[in-house]
């Protein structure tokens, strides 16, 4: 098990370097001179020369990449052109807000999605099932901006609709993100549970005289939640890397907003930083999913140990 996890972590290193390289190359070929973005049109020549030197702008791209990688390893992702603050501190500032939103939304989606999925599976094709699945389908298919604006309209005056000042401000954006995630989870839980309930070992359990409720909880649920765990890990990592639309819509100064601002301002170091951060979070989420899966499913545990 430990061997499996170490192997999985080691595999992520080349992936990470590759991603950093790709982002670096992509952003280097984007038109636009960083100095113009930083200083505007009218700058003295000696200032330009000094900055060009200190930022290694006249070096070949691979030297620049090596510098970037070297600095990144030391936690320095450069300085934002626009905000004149280090990218790491900007991200460190924005992340707690995104984290709070993500955790609230994820918790909401689990608390609602999993039980709804279970009830729908148990009461398959009943009115409750159709109702839950209808809600789930809406959550999955309605785009965040439409749901967000709808909620803002409905709850205007009742709940805060913009900004990030109190826990109350979290409710609406968490609902937007949570509804979507809950929809996916409910649908997946339902289909997975229905599939598991057809399995032979459920019949064995029934033949043992296990009561229906205990059968679902003790026998079916653990098996059916295996794919759900993977889905939850993917969801939370995508939530953690910043919900661009929702954060923009509700003016939450999180990672998503930071990335949008960076794009709008052609703030390359900041954009690079946020994209790399997102990558790390997603790789971490997948890693967590693999490890969780490994804990939950003994079959994988053994294969990995070999």
């Amino acid at each position: 098990m430990l061997k499996y996890i170490t192997k999985r972590i080691l595999v992520t290193i080349p992936v990470l370097i590759g991603v950093v390289f790709l982002i670096f190359v992509m952003l280097s070929v984007v038109p636009g001179d960083p100095l113009t973005v930083m200083m505007g049109e009218k700058v003295k020549v000696d200032v330009i020369e000094r900055l060009t030197k200190s930022m290694h702008l006249d070096d070949p791209w691979y030297v620049q990449f090596a510098w970037y990688l070297w600095n990144a390893l030391h936690g320095d992702f450069g300085t934002s052109y626009k905000l004149m603050r280090s990218v790491s501190s900007l991200i460190a500032n924005a992340f707690p807000k995104t984290l709070m939103l993500a955790v609230t939304a994820a918790a909401l989606s689990w608390v609602i999605g999993i039980p709804a999925g279970i009830i729908s599976a148990v009461k398959k094709n009943s009115l409750v099932d159709h109702l839950f699945m209808g809600f789930a389908l809406c959550g999955v298919s309605l785009p965040a901006f439409s749901v967000g604006m709808l909620l803002q309209n409905i709850f205007n005056g009742i709940l805060p609709v913009s900004g990030f000042a109190s826990p109350m401000h979290l409710i609406l954006p968490a609902l937007v993100l949570g509804w979507n995630a809950a929809g996916t989870i409910a649908r997946l839980t339902r289909s997975s549970l229905l599939e598991v309930l057809e399995d032979d070992y459920i019949r064995t359990a029934r033949a043992k005289g296990v009561a229906p409720l205990s059968m679902i909880i003790n026998h079916a649920l653990k098996n059916s939640l295996l794919p759900v765990i993977t889905m939850m890990a993917i969801q939370i990592s995508s939530l953690l890397s910043g919900a661009v639309i929702t954060e923009t819509l509700f003016s939450i100064p999180g990672i998503g907003r930071l990335a949008v601002d960076a794009i709008n301002g052609r703030d390359m170091p900041l954009l690079q930083g946020t994209v790399i951060f997102t990558t790390v979070v997603i790789i971490g989420g997948n890693l967590a999913a693999d490890i969780l899966y490994c804990v939950a499913d003994p079959r994988i545990r053994v294969e990995g140990g070999k």
């Binding site: 032979d200 070992y201 029934r206 033949a207 043992k208 098996n223 499913d297 003994p298 053994v302």
Partner: protein, 330 residues
């Protein structure tokens, strides 16, 4: 026959499908005495497994037991509330399934799965006692290194070992009746012999009655004392194994017997011509007549009853109508 343990009277199990109603079990009468080994034989889809599932109350939707009675030890299973019935399942009646590879829960240790069956029906048992008893049962069914195997997962065991675990699960509460639904079909021949030997040994030690569902007449000859031959949801022939093997009456049973490969013979293996009829479009009259080489005009019109050709030996075929003075359902 000794004391009657299980009595199935005119059992009907029907599947209500969109294409029509499928009578998977269509008026089956059956009896199993205490400690008796009874075989149920027939081709795939003849209703033998469904008969067992009906006894267990495991018939899945859209199927339903919609007629007849199942009496176990004097109690009517069919009239029982689900909660009462669950107290009997796994406790007094247990079942071994055909697929040992998939019949165990992959994410729970085998020991725990067997222990659950034990604890469910013996509420007072402490965890430690239960564990010890499961390990003892594991030893009894010949699982080597039983204490270590207790904590292993199904995928770590071979097919033969898994079937032994299933037998342990079925035996752990010392049931009065064990239903074995083709317990050795998925296993290779050497393991099959071992498992059958084990079941026979346990059956003799504990006095458990066994309903052995199989399509293998060799298993029946080795294991059972009485035999029911089923075809398309009905019992075609029943009697003691000795009697039926000595005096095969029904053309279908005869066909099954001839279909057993003979190592000495150089001839091509016999097979019953035709196919099992679709349960949606059963022939009128005798269900076997389209495939029967002796069928006459009457067979296509009327359904034969069970005729007693000798004491305890019943045959559902018009060929034996005149031979028997006594008529009527068993």
């Amino acid at each position: 026959m000794e004391e009657r343990l299980l009595q199935i009277q005119d059992l009907h199990t029907t599947f209500f499908t969109r294409e029509g109603n499928v009578h998977a079990v269509d008026g089956v009468d059956m009896e199993i005495g205490a400690g008796e080994n009874v075989g149920i034989v027939g081709e795939s889809g003849c209703g033998k497994s469904m008969t067992a599932m009906s006894v267990m109350g495991l018939v899945k939707k859209p199927g339903k037991v919609d007629g007849g009675k199942i009496l176990f030890d004097g109690m009517s299973l069919t009239d029982m509330r689900p909660k009462e019935r669950r107290k009997i399942l796994g406790n007094q009646i247990s079942m071994i399934f055909q697929e040992p590879m998939t019949s165990l829960n992959p994410v729970t240790t085998v020991g725990k799965q067997v222990k659950e069956a034990l604890c469910l029906h013996n509420k007072g048992l402490s965890q430690k006692e239960a564990r010890e008893r499961v390990v003892r049962v594991f030893e009894m069914v010949g699982i080597p290194d039983a204490a270590k195997r207790y904590g292993e997962y199904p995928h770590q065991l071979s097919g033969g070992l898994r079937q032994r675990v299933m037998i342990a699960m079925a035996m752990v509460c010392n049931p009065k009746l064990m239903i074995a639904d083709e317990p050795t079909t998925a296993l290779d021949v050497t393991i099959e012999a071992q498992i059958l030997h084990l079941m026979k040994q346990l059956q003799e030690e504990k006095g458990t009655a066994v309903m052995m569902i199989t399509h293998n007449l060799g298993v029946v000859a080795q294991f059972c004392t009485r035999l029911y031959v089923m075809y398309a949801g009905k019992v075609m022939e029943s009697g003691t194994v000795k009697e039926i093997f000595k005096n095969v009456c029904h053309p279908y049973t005869d066909g099954l017997m001839k279909s057993v490969p003979d190592m000495e013979s150089k001839e091509r293996l016999y097979n019953i011509r035709g196919m099992v009829p679709s349960m949606l479009h059963l022939p009128k009259g005798c269900r076997f007549c389209p495939r029967c080489q002796y069928s006459g005009p009457k067979c296509f019109e009327e359904e034969p009853k069970l005729y007693e050709v000798s004491p305890g030996h019943f045959v559902r075929c018009f060929l034996f109508e005149q031979q028997t003075a006594q008529e009527g359902e068993a």
